[in-house]
Amino acid sequence: MPIVTVRAAVCVLGRFPALAGADLDVDAGEIVLLAGPNGAGKTTLLRVLAGLVPLRAGSVHVLGHDLIANRRAHRRRLSLIGHDTFCYDDLTVAENLRFAARAAGATLASADAALLQFGLDEISEIAHSKLSAGQRRRLALAVAFARDPELLLLDEPHAGLDADGRDLLDALLRAAPARGMTVLVASHELDRTRTIATREVRVENGIVFGGRRVEDRAQPRIAEASAPVAAVASPAVGDVVG
């Protein structure tokens, strides 16, 4: 069953087309690795799927919701790990976790379980402002899991974690499909993430290579994408896309 369907997605940040006709299909239970260089559009793609960034053209369906019509309806059912922790400095680790879990409609037991899973129980009463960078990363990951999401969007999730944290995250990601989660991971740590992923796609210049299911690939893609992109792209990017 498709959890994510992206077609000819064009997203413009400023004057730069961060997505230039991206296509992507993700089925339930998949762990998809998004690989690609810096500035390729991986982060933007994840933020589009989370509904944080609107599209200029194309379509996106996530968890059965058309994000062109409504970018908010699916948010309780997903978690996004970005470069920020999305946490409050003056709340403790436990309070941040419980707030996020309850906002998503998850139980407090789920928040407490994430607290233990990520080894945060000993610092549960420490304010976010007092945490080290690595502890903040663990908290951000714990918040994502505490929400019991159906779709987990991870942007460089290993960054800032120590060796134990990385191994723990890998184990949790491997177990994620069994918990009913579908995972998209944007990462530069390809060797590590390839051991977890069930599929790898490459993102370059705002286009996802290998994103569509094989049976659908006969349909035109670049043709759909290039028209809207040409209108907004700078000459250099336009050359690449065209």
């Binding site: 978690s79 920020d84 922790t85 999305f86 409050y88 003056d90 709340l91 996020a100 906002a103």
Partner: protein, 225 residues
């Protein structure tokens, strides 16, 4: 409806907890309000006879200025570590977030107003008459100020100059609150509570208007912030 109330309570408790921890209201906003009240009293001291007359206006000017700080703080807590994105991603209803944030600001301002009112009685030589009018005026005016501040606060939250933009947006819009609340207080404190009711009604209408606008529009405004 229950879901909405639950979401609003979650945001309300979160914002109040952050304020209690950070002690910005206690350590900065309350002293600021008391200081403004004191300075007005010193400035007008030579003509002490007029203090009871101007006390209601000075009280509400002080509350309005303090509310700018409270609103600014309410916005600022969402701007660190991507918390605004976190709030958007939380899945909480935009209207519920608005109600929760307004509720927290109202609670903070009401606490401030109680202290300021006590200070006004002492410094400005006025007596506590018409408690019902004073209470209803304070509730309606504070709700109106908090709702307006929250709407314009989120509107300005993406701007680099939000600290200066918020007062520029909020102060002119809340002029009717300043006028209505001052007149209602003036009537109540001078023992003519009956004359206050039209002003209390005006404050109620203003508060209802901005609470409705904020409830409906806050989600969309948060998306664009």
């Amino acid at each position: 409806m229950m879901q909405l109330l639950r979401d609003a309570r979650l945001v309300f408790v979160k914002d109040l907890r952050i304020e209690l921890r950070a002690r910005i209201v206690i350590a900065q906003i309350v002293p600021f309000g008391v200081l403004v009240l004191l300075l007005f009293a010193f400035a007008l001291d030579p003509r002490r006879g007029m203090l009871p007359t101007v006390a209601p206006g000075l009280f509400w000017i002080t509350v309005l200025l303090a509310s700018i700080l409270a609103v600014g703080r309410s916005i600022a807590v969402e701007s660190e570590h991507g918390a605004r994105d976190g709030l958007r991603l939380s899945g909480l209803d935009g209207g519920a977030i608005f109600v929760g944030k307004v509720g927290a600001i109202v609670a903070e301002l009401l606490a401030l107003e109680v202290l300021l009112l006590l200070g006004t009685f002492v410094l400005y030589d006025v007596s506590a008459d018409g408690i019902l009018v004073l209470t209803l005026t304070a509730l309606a005016a504070t709700a109106g100020i908090a709702a307006t501040g929250t709407v314009y606060g989120v509107l300005a939250s993406g701007a680099k100059v939000r600290e200066t933009l918020v007062p520029l947006l909020v102060l002119p819009i809340t002029a009717p609150v300043l006028l209505g609340a001052s007149k209602a207080f003036e009537s109540a404190l001078s023992g003519r509570s009956g004359e206050a009711w039209p002003w209390v009604q005006l404050l109620g209408v203003f508060a209802a208007l901005y609470l409705t606008v904020g409830f409906v529009a806050f989600g969309a405004l948060l998306e664009e912030a």
